[in-house]
Symmetry: D2
Subunit: 127 residues, 4 copies
């Protein structure tokens, strides 16, 4: 039994996300609930479910399926996630949540911070 459970635990695995997303979510205009919803989307996608329903997401959140559906809509409107059409090797269409817009926003904000740092350093060295 012990081996079975250890294997099951090992198979659960880890979720790995950029530190920058965790430390800067507020500056990316996300709330705590939205960040956690995004982590749930990632957890489903890691296990092969690319388009989890609001019902599925709500089983892992303290909020109802309706509120999850609202949050997803808000995230799409804010340009954080989008829904893409994908095709399986044999031509069957399926939908997928893409986090590509979030990664882009993250990189934009990272470059903005670096530019700000740089101009601070320049200004200080000119004093």
């Amino acid at each position: 039994m012990e081996k079975v459970n250890l294997l099951a635990w090992a198979n659960e695995g880890n979720i790995s996300v950029p530190t920058f997303l965790i430390t800067q979510f507020k500056n990316l205009k996300l709330t705590e609930s939205e960040l956690v919803l995004i982590l749930q989307v990632i957890s489903y996608q890691n296990k092969g479910n690319d388009f989890p329903t609001p019902e599925e997401l709500s089983t892992r959140m303290t909020t109802s399926a309706d509120i999850c559906a609202n949050m997803l809509r808000t995230l799409v409107q804010k340009g954080i996630i989008n829904i893409t059409d994908e095709y399986s090797p044999d031509g069957i269409r399926f939908e997928k949540y893409s986090l590509q817009p979030l990664w882009e926003k993250m990189i934009d904000y990272f470059l903005l911070l670096k530019k700000a740092e740089e101009s601070t350093i320049k200004r200080n060295s000119e004093d």
Copy 2:
């Protein structure tokens, strides 16, 4: 400049947490805000700050330092985190947030789920 920024990005690194914590935080009696606070504690500890202040934590949360202090107190009371005394190699005492109680709760709950699954399987096979 590009190389400098890419290196800086690579150095930011990733945060890796058990998938089970993300998918089961609700069943561990945590809220979304508490989960995110825990992720901030981990992000500080990964960079060598073992005992981030409520002020430091609040810079990465949508909530004030007072509310972060309250949440930390609640997490200690719920037996999710505790504060341990550590000693540096040269005998200087320092405090540290330990997430060991959370990992224990997580394992307890995982084993409980496995036991429940097992007895369901048994019952079904006896029908």
Copy 3:
């Protein structure tokens, strides 16, 4: 250009493996080359290629495709990896390298080490 490259870098992502695999591969009767080959299999599978060919693997190794094919055979014979038949949602069969046997060996060895530690502690406390 800079944003494009940072995004590309972020999309490369990370490979995350159990620390125990890295620190104990020798005791699991693996060589350095076999460990690295396993990491290549994981890297291909993470990007959706479940059954990389010896040719594909050899582009990421210092060894030829023939030697990679030999190593794969050896890993199958040693019970480290196996080849499983999978079916896509629409019934098309495909082959996949499964690392499940390796995870099992890892857990077995971990439990063996723990048992050995435990009996050492017992013996010492009886002296």
Copy 4:
């Protein structure tokens, strides 16, 4: 006992490295053994040992301490790792292996690949 072992396993944790390092180590002029040695250095550093000895490293490799010492020297000569002097908060000096040169080489090579891709695309679109 089962809980103790599951906790011990969970505490072993994961090692997370850039996918690019795993897939491109050959192009960074590393051998399989050198890559695995670097992973051992990372595994020691993750657990707080910043300067593992050749003897410590050899316990996790199929090669002797002498050969590990040679490999470390080669890696320093090739500009992959270097040894930095660090100071603890109370002024005690200690040595540390730094992988910063490797990360720089990795980024350099990544940018080189991107430039090559770009000029290929340009050339093709001019045809």
